[in-house]
Amino acid sequence: MTFALLLIALVLLGSAAAAMLSRNLIHSALLLVGAWAGIAAFYLWAGAEFVAFAQVLVYVGAVSMVVLFAVLLTRQGATAAPVEFDSYQRLVGSLIAAGGVGGVLLGAIFGTPLDVPAAPSPAALTVRQLGLQLMGQHGAALLIVGVILTVALLGAIVIAAVDQPEDPAP
């Protein structure tokens, strides 16, 4: 079982790293899809079937399309974009954003009690129980996550779009 986990982690981190390093934006996007599929494989390994299939449906199916459309519709011509920062303001901004997200994630990871109980794990949840939980107790959270996803995608388009005057001055 541990071997399978290592294999999944290797594929996941490998494709994520390759996506960061690739000079070709389309290759990066497709490798990112590979990383998302790796996350789904990890969920399957952990026994969370429902989450794994939802991950594939949402990320590999839908979000990947948004990414590819965004790349093709916002880049005129070359898809092999230079990866350099264009101003210090932008560099500082990106560092602050990355640091903030990293801080929140690390805080969540370290704040979670990770001591595995020795008692046998409870029986796997059925989809029915999961659905009732999601729609009842955590309904608001589900809606907020949806809104955040939409905002993130819109933000990505706004950042990537190049504002050009409609007509060059005669």
Binding site: I26, L30, V33, E49, F50, F53, A54, V56, L57, V60, G61, A62, S64, M65, L68, F69, L72, T126, V127, R128
Partner: protein, 408 residues
């Protein structure tokens, strides 16, 4: 999947045969052999089904167009035996394998190679959760419907890979159009299945079929298609399934008269055949899902016909669906891209959402009996028909009646 001894022999035969083969292997390997046998069975049955779908399609289309269709290929060494050209698919397979495989010099070699592999692999995954018979379901999953749609999403990626990797403007253009089409129709497709999940309260395909296994007075089956919301859902599902599998009248991605062959332009030989195969596998799997969800799966239409094994019923219904799709292809004209997207977003999606509310009404009023049952049916039928008429009228306003100025 326990075999019940009371079932007829034909019902149990596939399982008995499988257990007999598995029994020859050591216990440690039995799970592996068990699954490999399921995979082999799916590949063999649906590979052959694909082969004969192609010949059926060519023959039926020929009949629709008042031609004869392929009738020449016979058997080697038995020249006098023609068999109505039924060996044509095997001749086609040999032709596809022996043809030259051409890769454009500037193409993205990896993506160009990967696209047909990915599309065939993922189009086959859907078969894993379809209940082909009373005891014949390759993998019993709690979230089977979700799995089915998740497996289907990789098709879009593969089409994009093919279009972009070919480094051809026609290919890329067609791939983008294909993506727009697939995304537009994914929504009505999934929304048309959701009412069934709402009413049955399960995502498992096996349980959805069991839920439809009753008869009123022994001959009126309780299939979902025979309820108002189920009928509307089934029609939306049919249209969306046609569009999802790139079939005429929604075959714009391929559109050989406008875009050469779309994302298939730069593919030749066996890779082209793989795309072709994936298209038919996708159509077959979607038909199988439609049968499972709306047409009672492997259930017999009448109680006294139950002596026919359940897997034969499933395959019969599947063949019926495929012939229906071929008939549609021979009848309807291809849509324009704007008509296509408008049909989905302005017509099918609102109707599917209303249908979801209809199913909610249906499951809330399940206790209505006597005269109230008639009210339940009436209200449900009204929820289907009134928005259909209103939306249809509004969308076609200004287009009809058509005037023929020159062809009077």
């Amino acid at each position: 999947m326990s075999v019940v001894a009371t079932d007829s022999f034909l019902e149990r035969a596939p399982l008995v045969f499988r257990d007999w083969i598995v029994g020859h292997f050591p216990v440690a390997l039995q799970w592996l052999v068990h699954h490999l046998l399921s995979i082999t069975a799916i590949l063999t049955v649906f590979g052959l089904f694909f082969a004969f779908t192609t010949i059926a399609e060519r023959k039926l289309l020929a009949r629709v167009q008042n031609r004869l269709g392929p009738n020449r290929s016979g058997l080697p060494w038995f020249r006098s035996l023609k068999l109505w050209g039924l060996t044509q698919p095997f001749a086609d397979a040999i032709k596809a394998i022996t043809k030259e495989d051409i890769v454009p010099a500037v193409a993205d070699k990896v993506l160009h190679f990967l696209a047909p592999v990915v599309i065939v692999a993922f189009s086959l995954l859907g078969f894993a959760v379809l209940p082909f018979g009373r005891h014949l379901i390759p993998v019993e999953l709690d979230a089977a419907i979700l799995y089915f749609f998740a497996a289907g999403t990789a098709t879009e990626l593969a089409i994009f890979m093919a279009g972009w990797g070919s480094r051809n403007k026609y290919s890329l253009l067609a791939a983008m159009r294909a993506l727009a089409q697939l995304i537009s129709y994914e929504l009505p497709l999934i929304l048309s299945v959701v009412p069934v999940i709402l009413v049955t309260g399960t995502l498992s395909t096996g349980k959805i079929v069991l839920d439809q296994g009753f008869w009123t007075w022994g001959f009126l089956p309780h299939w979902h298609v025979f309820t108002p919301w189920g009928f509307a859902g089934f029609l939306i599902f049919l249209v969306a399934a046609l569009a999802e599998s790139n079939r005429s009248p929604f075959d714009l991605p391929e559109a050989e008269s406008e875009l050469i062959a779309g994302h298939l332009t730069e593919y030749s030989g066996f890779k082209y055949a793989l795309f072709f195969m994936a298209e038919y596998f996708g159509l077959t799997a979607l038909s199988g899902l439609g049968i499972t969800v709306f047409l009672g799966g492997w259930q017999a239409p009448c109680a006294f016909l139950e002596f026919i094994p359940s897997w034969l019923w499933f395959m019969g219904k599947l063949a019926g669906m495929i012939v229906f799709f071929i008939w549609i292809r021979g009848t309807l004209l291809r849509l324009r891209i704007d008509q296509l997207t408008r049909l989905s977003w302005q017509f099918l999606v609102p109707l599917a959402l209303l249908n979801l509310g209809n199913a909610a009404f249906w499951s809330l009023t399940s206790g209505w009996t006597g005269p109230l049952a008639f009210a339940r049916w009436g209200i449900s039928v009204a929820i289907v028909i009134v928005p259909f008429l209103l939306l249809g009228r509004r969308l076609t306003a200004g287009y009809a009646p058509r005037t023929y100025r020159y062809a009077a």
